[in-house]
Symmetry: C2
Subunit: 313 residues, 2 copies
């Protein structure tokens, strides 16, 4: 029998959805919206489902902990080497790929079709029939080809783009035309029309998007970051935009969030910002993921999407 | 042996591309950018490749005419009943579908991800992490499912939408989940999240998007017109937007183009305008289409994409 703690700002909705699934072997299903609330409910939960930033706070107190299912793809708050690692950590995979695809290709199409320029023309009642571009035939470069990257590669393929992937070692996505690893990073960047990072935060990915990588892109290239902010040298990026060495960028993540007023990004030329919103978390998706994984666990099989504490993803 | 006239604003580029193809049986390949220039080149061409609006002007003079390949999908200028119809007219098909998909889904994603609102937030240095929407699970309704519509249906399916198609009779696209015809138009509209028209200009399609059709859409629905303007009752559309009966619209085509200053569309609430630019004509695509069709013709087979003068497409 299992005692499950849901620890999330969506705790009530998750509890409703998980309850409705009628899971077997559930002795207790508790829901808390904060660490304090969670600790008041007890310390004998063997399963926790929720946000890594909240779970981190209760982690040392859970004496029977066996499994944590995170509602995020990136689980950095739980990777701190000072924290315990005597439990199975699984992250949210297969949930965000489609949403990220919508975000990334929405912004790529915005760039090709100059939607914001067209919007400005309309404000000025100006008929602007200048010819716009197309994704077809362009080259899409992916930094990181896991679950999310594979989904992006499929959408790039759908729009007739060729796809390059830069990974640590894996070459498993059929929609990637050519793979690059390790020291071939600059070859990977050479001639890309679009560079998109979905990289997690690890030692190897830190500042991988730096002046030398940006300098290898064509001047018409566009950079999109929907992975972790640590992959980007923010000042090199601003310089590349200001000097016209990069045509445009779209950022969803920042070293400091919310980004403080006055930061150079707000007004950097041809930079479009979003606010850590590229893949909205829909509770239904994540509850489904937990329910499926719980059934695995209850059947004595290993839950899917285990995180390697050393690799960081 | 064939005598080919290219009559287009891109005449020189088309001639270069067609020449490079080394077509068989080509006695003459002439290029003109205007009807006057064309007529100065002679009147004994049996094949004409170019823009319908220009070809219309020389049509009566071409005594040996056998085949016209249009560079447009819509060929209205050549459908006027007062014009001759003693030749084969083929239009541009299979060329614009991908480009239209980019346009339509770019704007659908703009709507879901509120790109213009996010852009405004950035201008104001305001961190706006409000949750945005997704295409997945939404219902996409297509008015017209020909070559372009089929491509749109495939992209809707790619993004996890369900697809309804309204057509005269055909039910041949595998990416359409359910078909509607004739008097079932209002059933088709019922519950759509997105209504997209790719209809040609025919007697049956005139003002098909009227107050009653718009009234049947949910208030959160979005209408996109990338077909012909004649399908839309423009004043009913403005009223639906002003009264909040329609959440948004995207228009690329208008009864009068360029749209005159002061027209209600420029400032209609939640209307985004583009300027007959949804499917840019790339000369390479259209030259390819002509070259392939010419090879058919030279081999004694019928060129593809014949237009039915009565149906109008």
């Amino acid at each position: 029998m299992s005692r499950v703690l849901i620890l999330s700002k969506h705790a009530d909705e998750y509890r409703r959805l998980v309850e409705a699934a009628g899971l077997p072997g559930l002795e207790e299903l508790a829901a808390a919206a904060s660490p304090a609330e969670a600790l008041a409910l007890g310390d004998d939960f063997d399963i926790v489902f929720g946000e890594p930033s909240l779970i981190r706070e209760v982690l040392p107190r859970l004496r029977d902990l066996r499994w944590v299912q995170a509602t995020w793809a990136g689980v950095e708050p739980l990777l701190d080497p000072s924290l315990r690692r005597d439990y199975l950590l699984t992250n949210a995979r297969g949930v965000f790929g489609g949403l990220m695809s919508e975000f990334v290709f929405g912004y790529l199409l915005q760039h090709e079709r100059r939607m914001i320029e067209r919007y400005r023309a309309q404000q000025e009642q100006r008929w602007d029939a200048s010819v716009t571009g197309t994704l077809r035939g362009k080259t899409f470069g992916l930094l990181g080809v896991g679950s999310i990257g594979s989904n992006l590669a499929g959408t790039a393929r759908h729009f007739g783009m060729s796809v390059r992937g830069y990974t640590r070692a894996s070459e498993s996505c059929p929609d990637v035309d050519s793979y690059y690893h390790g020291s071939s990073l600059l070859d990977f960047a050479d001639g890309l029309d679009y560079l998109v990072s979905v990289l997690p935060d690890t030692k190897e990915t830190r500042y991988i998007v730096d002046a030398s990588l940006l300098g290898r892109l064509p001047a018409h290239a566009v950079f999109v970051n929907v992975g972790r902010s640590s992959a980007v040298d923010e000042s090199a990026l601003v310089t590349a935009l200001r000097t016209g060495k990069l045509a445009a960028a779209v950022l969803d993540v920042y070293e400091q969030e919310p980004l403080p007023p006055g930061h150079a990004f707000w007004k950097a030329p041809n930079l479009l910002m979003t606010f850590h919103t590229s893949a909205p978390s829909f509770p239904g998706d994540l509850a489904c993921l937990f329910i499926e994984n719980y059934r695995q666990y209850a059947d004595g099989r290993a839950p899917l999407h285990a995180v390697d504490f050393e690799k960081g993803y």
